[in-house]
Symmetry: C2
Subunit: 146 residues, 2 copies
């Protein structure tokens, strides 16, 4: 297991333990994690702090020169909002735990020149498939679905 | 002046008075403002709370049924992140103060079926052009530019 994806999974598991949506993310700059995060919808009543956004927020204010040397790791395929944040800050590479339970904007990212790797990690798939089965309404809310 | 754009401008002006980036937004549901916000980069050290994101966050957790009856007003053309949030939550219409000082993802929004109106409001243009002249480095940071 990639150690950065492992760190993203630990974030997802921490979110689950808090009663939240189990999606985690880490932002890595030149081999060092500079931001960790997980979905905060339940915990903070937040509609903007998806896992990836929370990792970006916790990394703090950075220059474009830093972002362009970063890799974002996320346990789940990034939604339109998180993909937009990746494009805004010019993050050149995203490593995704899985896209079986939710397909985000991977093609849009690739079309804009972002490198997108998908691991189809069974731990990530189990985390999300179990959560979606237990909490379908909460999951629909998180992705703006009916 | 449209009263909702006026409310967004008041948010931008409040941000400026706090020493922040003068971009404001309001989320309107069936003719009522349910969220107001402005850029919080300086005030909160936030990299995710652009004006539109702050308005969405302050509106709190909403269902897709609410978002699909909303209009988002913003003083400036929405960046990739904010445009992604609009798409995530299925907000069908965006009213933009101006796109002269920054052109966001308007074409992407339109391609996904969002109605996009641009007012080219002189107050919005003055707020941003003055800010960019005074604080070019801060503005570059906010839009992930070198």
């Amino acid at each position: 297991m990639d150690r950065f994806m492992q760190a993203a999974i630990e974030e997802a598991q921490a979110g689950l333990a808090e009663g939240g949506i189990p999606i985690g993310s880490v932002l890595v700059h030149r081999g060092t994690i500079i931001g960790r995060g997980h979905n905060r919808r339940v915990q903070h009543g937040s509609v903007v702090l998806h896992g990836e956004m929370d990792a970006l927020e916790n990394a703090g204010r950075q220059s474009a020169a830093v972002y362009r040397e970063c890799v974002l790791y996320t346990t789940l395929s990034p939604c339109p909002m998180c993909s937009g944040a990746i494009l805004l800050y010019g993050i050149p590479k995203v490593v995704i735990g899985e896209n079986r339970t939710f397909m985000g904007e991977e093609e849009h990212l690739r079309a804009r020149g972002v490198t997108v790797d998908v691991l189809q990690d069974p731990v990530c798939i189990d985390l999300m498939s179990g959560f979606i089965k237990r909490s379908p309404a909460l999951w629909s809310e998180d992705i703006g679905s009916e």
